[in-house]
Amino acid sequence: MYVVEVEDLYKSFGSIKALRGLNAVFPKGICGLIGPNGSGKTTFIHILMGLVRPDRGKAFVLGFDCWRDSVEIRRRIGVLLEDMYFPGHLTVREYIEHIIRIKGGDRGDILKIAEDIGLERYLNRKIHTLSAGMFKMLGLMQALVGEPELVILDEPSANLDPLKRRNLLEYIMKVGRERDVSFLISSHVLPELEEICEWIVLIYEGRAVDQGSLGDLYAKYGTNEYEVVSDKPRLLAKLIKEYGVGEVLYIHGNRVNVSNTCYKEFTEFLYKFSKDIKIFSFKPVGGLENVFRQAIKNISKRAG
């Protein structure tokens, strides 16, 4: 089942065509939406919210029509928009209490969520005294109250320092796993999406250029070179050679670079030895950025 499904979506603002026949699906889990500035990501999210009415096409969230049933959708989801306004004269706690009254949920959640995202020290602070990064966290807190089934995040890590970005990613993964919450994340920071997303939709000039699981996209566009970071790189290199799942190019520190391998096959291989070898990361060299560049290049070639 798809949590978000859009078909042939068009939207113009005067002479600006923001969406030009967008077709995309987002399954349950953590999904990413990537595209350059002005590609229509924010318009797409606004349509999902029922903030903007599409000129043509269909859009469904959790099976509900985005324009007709927008309130029903918003009852089931949480949203963090790119540029959110909060009433500065209220304290964080007062504001979130208002949100809980509207969205429903348990007041006990305030402290729990605040602790999880590092906002507990700021609960009694006036909102106008918060930094830009804390504003983002407050938006995230608003999105997470009321036990949503889906959380839509538009540029969640903008304005966050590296430590908070890391905490945010870990928190998203934790919530996704433990509470069975799906996420749709729109971001420019591709390495972050690569780390947490299972499904990616590439959007360019108002159309979906491609979409699929990370593995499929790597296989389709990625380079043939992968980088594995593990606690036992030498043992890993030995096993790769033994099992013939790829060609070890070189070992550098705890990194092993492998070529001539299939993403899916290699993932299964790593999983098989996960008890003996701890894998910290596994991604193609160039990663999602490379996938994105290649996909855009293909489109430009076809158009040109």
Binding site: H46, R74, V79, D83, P87, H89, I102, K103
Partner: protein, 264 residues
């Protein structure tokens, strides 16, 4: 039963949004300014009041009393109009500009609920301040409670508030800019006062409504000149209907425009 429960849930939702909107809109400086402006202005407009602009003989007959109530409402209503325009424009154009409307529409809040909540949260405090101050002033100054006059004040102030709110809301939604909406709303509301215009335009002056209605009531009660009573009645009804019709049309148009508009 089912309908009753749904209505109860809806009213609770509406109350929550109104509470949030009041909390956001009526922060302390604006709230104090509202009290200061409306209370002082009202008290200043009553003869022989605590803040008199002019004083009269301490003994007033009922005819004078009704006339002076209408006159005081007429004079002090400029403050209510100005305050309501500013608050309505900030609540609509300001909220759309800042992104607050977008934020609140990410919550399970329908556009109809938000429209009604904004209408109540913008109007309630100035309405209560203005009408209660006038009622207090009457009781304090004339030592007399005339219930129909109190009800009339409540009704006319509600009409005035609805008229100003609907026009300011419509301009704010169409222009979406604070300064532009302020200027256009004030221009529309001030236009009927322009002397070059035909006298029929005076029906669209909310302050005129207070004067004409109280004049009619006092004539009806204390005059025997039927022609004068009839003419006062026609003037009063025309003033009320003009404001009511414009308010309803502007509110409906603003509501449907808001229902369909893109919040981007």
């Amino acid at each position: 039963m089912y309908l009753g429960r749904r209505l109860k849930i809806y009213l609770r939702e509406l109350a929550n949004i109104i509470l949030l909107e009041i909390n956001i809109m009526w922060n302390r400086p604006i709230l104090y300014f509202n009290f200061l402006l409306l209370i002082l202005l009202t008290l200043a407009c009553y003869p022989s009041g605590p803040l008199p602009c002019y004083s009269l003989s301490p003994k007033l007959d009922p005819w004078d009393m009704l006339f002076y109530i209408g006159l005081a409402l007429h004079k002090s209503s400029v403050g209510l109009t100005a305050l309501l325009v500013v608050v309505s424009v900030l609540s609509w154009a300001g909220s759309i500009r800042r992104g607050w409307v977008k934020n609140i529409l990410t919550l399970p809040v329908g556009r109809r609920t938000l429209f009604i909540a904004k209408m109540i949260s913008v109007s309630l405090i100035p309405y209560l301040t203005f009408s209660l101050t006038h009622i207090f002033a009457q009781v304090y100054l004339f030592h007399y409670i005339y219930v129909p006059s109190l009800l009339l004040i409540m009704f006319l102030v509600a009409l005035h508030v609805l008229y100003v709110f609907s026009i300011s809301t419509l301009t704010s939604l169409l222009i979406k800019d604070i300064v532009g909406s302020l200027l256009l709303s004030l221009a529309i509301l001030m236009l009927p006062s322009w002397e070059e215009l035909p006298p029929e335009f005076s029906h669209f002056k909310p302050e005129e409504c207070y004067l004409s209605t109280f004049k009619f009531i006092s004539l009806y009660m204390y005059s025997h000149n039927r022609k004068r009573i009839y003419l006062a009645f026609i003037k009063s009804i025309s003033d009320i209907l003009a404001l009511l019709i414009v308010s309803i049309i502007a509110s409906i148009f603003a509501y449907f425009y808001f229902k369909k508009m893109d919040i981007d």
